[in-house]
Assembly symmetry: C2
Homo-oligomer: 208 residues x 2
């Protein structure tokens, strides 16, 4: 096993659970919220602040203004003036690269596919699901009524999409931004895990 | 075997070849250009005209004007005044439904996933590929230089996208318009075929 798997996902699609089960099968680590703790430790930012800015772009006007000024490069002096959301992105970006250097693992969300775009031993997967399945999952998980669950799905996916589209050069949820995209409602969580395992094994056999 | 498989595809991604190999494995028919011949026979339109309008929307202003007028419904009198491209679409749409009623098969392109949206025994797949792979494939197939091949890929995909987005309620190439999306460059044509066969078999086992 030599492959790093990144998983982008719609909110409520079971992407995290699928990532954990794939990691468990191969005996490797799965990073989701764990990435935040580690990024906090490595960057020196407090974890709460990293959590508050996690996969969430802030005011886009301020954003663009600053990004234009610094042209996406940063040095000691400009880093001080950078908006916190951007600093948090860079901290996560660094941590993702460091984690990938340590060996095979699964990384969920946070533009990991973009951070690792130059690694050839990566597979980038996107998980989505039917509306009913996502709503049901979020109703159960957060004890919400249907309307609230739907609202939460829409809001979270909007945040993830604008975060991804802003920081990466690709489009969130477009098939060709990833290697494989699966609707987890078709085969269910375990069926989807099985197909992904098959995919990774075929990929590894091809690259031997 | 009881499943109908529709395959959307980027130009040059090998979608047709993949569809043919999947069909061969299951001993079922694969419809691509064959659909045009049959739509011609069933509709009474000449085949050349159907070919000329195949997956190609015409002037969108005229289009919208007519579509608004008829609100996507048609009857004997309005059908006469309908633009040819729309008539061709409806002829293909009818033929796709008739083919699906006959039993399991593979249908490549032509909004087949949209025409069969209400069938529960369908799997909708989208095939795409890396730029280099698509360009190489088209250079070899049509004996073109690199620039011409790239141009042809871009043009054909633009046509397919606007045709699909116009006639269906979904977005061409967006992951969640399909059940499974695969970059055929990762495992190659045969590896992709193998994964799709596994997927269909798992789907059939689940639905038994």
């Amino acid at each position: 096993m030599n492959t790093i798997i990144t998983i982008g996902r719609q909110f409520g699609s079971g992407g995290r659970e699928i990532g954990e089960k794939v990691a468990e099968h191969f005996g490797i680590k799965c990073y989701d919220k764990e990435l935040l703790t580690r990024a906090a430790k490595e960057s020196g930012f407090c974890e709460e602040m990293i959590q508050n800015h996690d996969e969430r772009p802030t005011n886009s006007f301020l954003y663009n203004l600053v990004m234009d000024t610094y042209s996406f490069g940063y040095n000691a002096s400009s880093f001080v003036d950078m908006p916190i959301s951007h600093k948090v992105f860079l901290a996560q970006f660094d941590t993702i690269k460091r984690i990938a250097d340590e060996g095979p693992c699964v990384i969920v969300g946070r533009c990991a596919d973009y951070a690792l775009a130059d690694n050839t031993n990566c597979l980038h997967i996107f998980i989505y699901a039917n509306e009913e399945c996502k709503t049901k999952r979020i109703m159960d998980k957060y004890n919400l009524n249907e309307a609230k669950a739907r609202e939460m799905c829409t809001k979270k996916d909007k945040q993830r999409q604008s975060y991804y589209n802003y920081y990466s050069s690709k489009k969130w949820g477009r098939a060709d931004s990833y290697d494989l995209c699966i609707n987890s409602s078709v085969l269910g969580i375990d069926g989807t895990v099985k197909l992904i395992i098959q995919y990774i094994e075929d990929f590894e056999a091809n690259n031997e």
